[in-house]
């Protein structure tokens, strides 16, 4: 525990000329379920895209320990990513989606790939959906399939963008359970963007809260502690659902 895995230093991010966050610095430790919180438009998903290397920052840097700055153009990616929509490839079956990385980045024979795919789908409770196309799945199933795909290459770190968004409460709880299983059972470090309070308190052990107005991180720590002890009205408002945009 307390071994740094991602170190973010003085990161300034945004789109075109619009700065969303300035000089953000924080550390994600190995074994964390680390939540990135904040109201709409504060730059949570944009920060995630910078952490995985989909965008380049205006200033500052991200260091994934053992990998360096995230660079998606150099070989096998060291982490998995689940996008908000799932982003499954619509022309492939669920099994083919999961198998894609395995076929590209490993020398496993076909039957071994099949076995790994089945194992991953079993882990997320979708073992019967391997031959289905994404269009035939419910919202929750799509997200679980996307997690299976993100786990295909056994990453130590996984990024989840709004995993519970658009899900019914039962599916959302099931997904939280899956995240906890991945963290406790597989030892996976999870970075999750969310604003679902129930989910935050249930799964996250550390968080940062982004603020749209000040374009900065206004709180860092255990979400339960922040809820109970923070004097900052913005933090208090977010955790007590008083903030207008939360």
């Amino acid at each position: 525990m307390n071994e740094p895995l991602i170190e973010v230093t003085d990161l300034t991010i945004g789109y075109a000329d619009a700065v969303l966050q300035q000089d953000a610095s924080f550390t994600v430790y190995r074994g964390d379920i680390f939540a990135i919180l904040g109201g709409s438009g504060c730059g949570k998903s944009t920060l995630l895209r910078h952490l995985v290397g989909l965008e380049r920052p205006f200033a500052g840097h991200v260091n994934v320990v053992g990998v360096g700055a995230p660079n998606l153009d150099v070989g096998r990616p060291p982490y998995g990513v689940m996008f908000q929509s799932g982003a499954l490839f619509g022309s492939m079956t669920v099994g083919e989606n999961v198998a894609l990385s395995l076929e590209e980045w490993t020398d496993l024979p076909h039957d071994a790939v099949e076995a790994v795919v089945w194992g991953k789908l079993r882990l997320v409770g979708l073992e019967g959906a391997s031959g289905k196309f994404p269009a035939e799945l419910s919202g929750g199933m799509k997200k679980r399939a996307a997690i299976a795909r993100a786990l295909a290459l056994e990453p130590e770190l996984i990024f989840l963008d709004e995993p519970s968004a658009g899900l019914d409460p039962v599916s959302a709880v099931e997904l939280d359970d899956l995240i906890l299983t991945m963290n406790k059972g597989l030892g996976l470090t999870v970075v999750v963007v969310t604003h679902e309070l129930e989910s935050i308190f249930r799964i996250a052990n550390r968080c940062i809260m982004l603020d749209k107005e000040s374009k900065s991180i206004i709180a860092t720590g255990d979400p339960r502690t922040l809820r109970d002890t923070s004097d900052d009205p913005r933090v208090h408002g977010f955790f007590n659902r008083l903030a207008k945009e939360a």
């Binding site: 290397g53 998606l72 996008f83 982003a87």
Partner: protein, 392 residues
């Protein structure tokens, strides 16, 4: 109780009768006039209320205060409150000091909710753009689009170089499938359209050539124009409409549904994985379709020659062989390779530049077809000029 309709106007029936709304302009002797609102203000009555309010306030001169007395309002809904706040803001901006006074309980809450207690924000009116502005913006937009396409072309070249260094990293298995969709599936429409092009051209030419007893030269006219110009161009236009639009829509949909981002996070370069297979497939099949188009275009001319101009098949073919040179056919094939590059480059670039959901996909698909057609004509003109000056 369920709402019922009475004639043309819908009325909400309520369980308890509501007190009707009333507006009165009260002007006490020693104080500023007050607009006194009474009763229950509901959105169903908004239209007549709005008209009455406008009439009451339009004569108030700047400098004179006119407050909205809400003390006798029993309830007000959101829509009506929005209208009242709008009216008060207009008054303030006209120089008439105005506030909501006397609101209590729920009414006060809704006044606050609709920002009735805050200073009005001056709404920015959009100035219409002048003709020069519009021309300037269009020019900058066009140059920006050209820059983006050239940048994309550069990325494509880099990806191609990388692919040549590491052929294993290419998405080879996708190429036959794309070739089938772009080439084999387009064969019927290519045959039909190019046959009719040759057919129509022969008919039009025959009318003129018959006057000079030069029927046989229909074969020259059709053969040269089809192989050098119309075969490659018509085929490219067909492929643009079928495959260019499909590429832009496919990649655009992948972009907006984050599939391209997902590919990148899984270590697949989208350029190598998505763009190069499409570009290579089109560059292989378009020349083949062009040769087919040449053949059926000339067949269209032959049918007209035999049926309508009393030419024999042998004489028509002999004349065609004399008129059509190997270079003539080859120059059309060369053009078609460049056309294929333009089609794949522009359609993929437009797909990658898509944003904004389903509407964005539609916009980019349209834009890709228009841009490709423009590029095809431009490239064709450039080839014609170059061939002319070099006597090719």
């Amino acid at each position: 109780m369920a709402p019922t309709t009475q004639g043309k106007h819908q009325r909400l029936l309520t369980l308890s009768p509501r007190r009707p709304s009333r507006i009165e302009l009260v002007a006490p002797v020693a104080a500023a006039p007050v607009l006194k609102l009474e009763g229950t203000l509901v959105f169903a009555d908004a239209a007549p209320l709005w008209t009455r309010l406008q009439k009451r306030v339009e004569t108030v001169p700047p400098g004179e205060t006119l407050n909205f007395d809400m003390s006798s309002v029993e309830s007000v809904d959101g829509g009506t409150m929005a209208l009242l706040v709008h009216l008060r803001n207009d008054l303030k901006l006209r120089g008439v000091p105005s506030d909501f006074v006397g609101a209590r309980g729920k009414v006060e809450e809704i006044v606050r909710l609709y920002h009735g207690h805050e200073a009005p924000l001056r709404r920015q009116r959009r100035k219409p753009k002048s003709g020069f502005d519009q021309i300037g913006e269009a020019t900058v937009g066009f140059l920006g689009a050209v820059k983006e396409i050239l940048g994309f072309f550069g990325d494509m070249i880099l990806a191609l170089v990388g692919l040549l260094r590491e052929p294993r990293t290419a998405n080879w298995k996708e190429i036959p499938h794309i070739m089938e969709r772009t080439g084999a599936d387009a064969v019927p429409i290519v045959i039909l359209i190019n046959f009719l092009v040759g057919f129509v051209m022969a008919f039009q030419g025959a009318g003129q050539l018959r006057q000079f007893g030069a029927n046989i030269f229909v074969a020259d006219l059709v053969g040269v124009s089809v192989t050098r110009e119309l075969g490659p161009l018509m085929t490219a236009i067909i492929v643009c409409g079928r495959s260019g639009a499909a590429f832009a829509a496919e990649l655009g949909t992948m972009k907006v549904s984050e599939e391209i981002d997902a590919l990148r996070t899984m270590g697949f370069g989208p350029m190598r994985y998505l763009v190069l297979p499409r570009a290579l497939a089109v560059m292989v099949v378009l020349p083949m379709l062009t040769l087919l188009a040449d053949l059926v275009g000339m067949t269209g001319g032959l049918v007209v020659g035999v049926i309508s101009l009393d030419l024999t098949i042998g004489s028509y073919l002999n004349e065609t062989l004399k008129a059509v040179t190997l270079w003539g056919v080859f120059s059309g094939v060369v053009k078609s390779v460049v056309f294929a590059l333009a089609i794949s480059l522009i359609s993929c670039q437009q797909g990658f530049a898509t944003s904004g959901g389903a509407e964005g996909v539609g916009r980019r698909t349209t834009s890709s077809v228009v841009s490709i057609l423009f590029a095809l004509i431009l490239i064709d003109a450039a080839f014609t000029v170059v061939f002319y000056f070099f006597h090719l």
